[in-house]
Assembly symmetry: C2
Homo-oligomer: 373 residues x 2
């Protein structure tokens, strides 16, 4: 498991043997007022009016907030002072706590405050706030220590304004990335192409960062929009398998119905090992939110969920066998051909590729048990 | 790669050494009229009225259809006769082509025609068609050969009617599964619990099958609905990484902008090997749909997409190293701490767990190249 707070120095300090670039560091505004000096007069006035304490709170200006709240705290507890100050709002603290402590060569700064900006309905307001934020970051952070590198934010709601912001910073050697908070348009859609064009012009990568799912005007985390082609639909159904597996476990379906099993057919299975690791890990942090999940999520998954073998996909026998081993396929996998569909799996093909010791359970025993045959 | 048609018998026939249960076989209605004799009079009359050839075609009755079409054919070409007859509509052909040919002990029948039923707006009509379909399947297929086992369909739109249908079949020894076509409610939601209760009562597994995404009243494949808890949101963002990676490649973003790179931060990475295998495989079948994707999708992904290391998740060093190897992490992964967030990855922890030969590229070189530092 991964430590929630820095571990005590081990005798051998592995990280010191390597140059380090930390690609995801979140600096934070001390408060929103700090930004107001950087916002253009017209937009500043709009925000001032809408933050008036006499306005109804539910209509007052605020940055987009997620519909979900972290049941504990999004900040590492030891990075917060008792008065609420987050060390990540103080350049000197980040320098000491992170750069100096771990000998980090470069830290890419992705301002924490704008990870939800794509949920703001008004694209002009979002773009104005983004410009101000980039200016503030440059002045207070990038100029403070040359190890801080700038991932500027742009507003995905208006790709033309986003491209203009890239133009404004493109030649700055400290700017190393164009940051975008996901919105409910899939990343490949033409909507974004002006942003990509500008980023490509300056050889800047585009960094999509998590955070805006369910924030402000954005839909749930799944509302990334409909894909364009059949190949995207066909490949992407694995995400439906993932989401539904999470949902089945976390809603307590298997705690409530201990003898219920679920077979997921044609939703793929290569995602299972990673999903089980991730869900187990998150459960260690968040299990108070789902108290009915009383054992490891991967235990529920292995006990209650079965997956069809078709399509059996892997580029090599070695990787296939490793993946099957990681997911306990000898327990979870059910042989299937998907006859008469175009991507029918020939039983000889499947059996030949499975590891010897998994053939019987996958071919027969798992299904026999599942279906009571 | 997986063959699209049965392979010639190999010298050693591996599958014959094992008992086989085929968990996903799709029998098909010869035509919808076949079902009409099984539909209750009131609903039958409704369907007859709405299939009247004189009604506007766009308002005539039809089973829910997907918004996307397979650019070639969903049926294996050699299972279709030139007059349009699919072998999967003829019990004797399925017996010969599948059961006898491969010595299959049991085949679980999941009727092809109802994989979109969850997209039908009217729950009573959907339930009535489902009941008729189960009766027809039982009479024409299950009674035909004892190796055919019945995965009855139930209609997820009305869980109470679905539970009643399970009650109707629960004691039938040939019924081995409750089949559900996904709809835009996540599988763990309480909506489904009456179905789960009935399935659990009869010790029947629930089988979710792909097919209804974008069909009829259902939204796109992503419209599986919003999850309930933070842990689901936090775990499930990997599906956003997956969907957006697919979208970026398939929409041709990297073909159009050959020097563009994209960093995906905090969307996880354990899903990358499986996604690359699957997308490469689908591309071999469907590349005519996305002609601008002129090389393997995994080549675009490896060349253009980078993923943050945080959170570094794996239950064991062995599995971690295998997964990193499969995804070419020495090329694709960027070290990140996510400071100051609660799930901060300590650099010592990360470096200690990475394979020796990947430490330098992940810690430094990949980011240096990406950010031009």
């Amino acid at each position: 498991m991964i430590a929630n707070s820095p571990q005590k120095e081990k005798k051998e300090n592995h990280s010191k043997q390597y140059n380090l670039i930390d690609c995801d560091v979140h600096h934070i505004l001390p408060n929103f007022d700090t930004l107001m000096d950087y916002i253009e007069p017209g937009l500043k006035r709009r925000i001032e009016l809408a933050t008036n304490a006499r306005s109804e709170a539910r209509n007052a200006f605020q940055m987009p907030r997620r519909a979900y709240f972290n049941p504990t705290s999004t900040a590492r507890v030891d990075t917060m002072d008792s008065d609420g100050t987050n060390h990540a709002s103080i350049p000197q603290r980040v320098k000491e706590d992170l750069l100096d402590r771990y000998d980090i060569t470069y830290a890419i700064l992705m301002g924490n405050d704008l990870t939800t900006i794509s949920g703001m309905p008004d694209p002009d307001l979002a773009a104005g706030i983004t410009r101000a934020y980039n200016d503030w970051t440059n002045e207070h952070w990038i100029q403070y220590d040359s190890r801080f590198k700038h991932s500027i934010w742009v507003t995905p709601q208006d790709p033309i304004q986003a491209a203009a912001e890239i133009e404004r910073w493109g030649d700055d050697p400290n700017v190393v990335q164009v940051g975008i908070a996901m919105m409910d348009v899939l990343a490949g859609k033409r909507h974004y192409w002006p942003i990509y064009e500008a980023a490509a012009k300056y050889n800047l990568p585009v960094g999509f960062h998590v955070g805006a799912e369910s924030a402000g005007n954005n839909g749930s985390q799944l509302a990334v929009g409909a894909p364009t082609h059949y190949i995207e639909l066909q490949t992407g159904v694995i995400s439906i398998g993932i989401q539904n597996t999470i949902s089945l476990v976390c809603e307590g379906v298997f705690a409530k119905f201990p003898n219920l099993k679920v077979a997921l057919l044609e939703y793929g299975w290569t995602w299972l090992p990673g999903l089980m690791w991730r869900l187990d890990r998150e459960w260690h942090s968040f299990r108070q939110e789902v108290p009915w999940v009383t054992k490891l999520p991967s235990d529920y998954i292995k006990d209650h969920i079965r997956v069809g073998s078709q399509p059996l996909e892997a580029p090599s026998k070695e990787y296939l066998h490793q993946t099957l081993e990681m997911m306990s396929a000898e327990k979870m996998m059910l042989f299937a051909t998907d006859y008469p569909h175009w991507d029918f799996d020939d039983p000889n093909y499947v059996m030949r590729h499975l590891p010897e010791h998994m053939r019987k359970p996958i071919a027969y025993e798992n299904a026999r048990e599942l279906y009571g045959l």
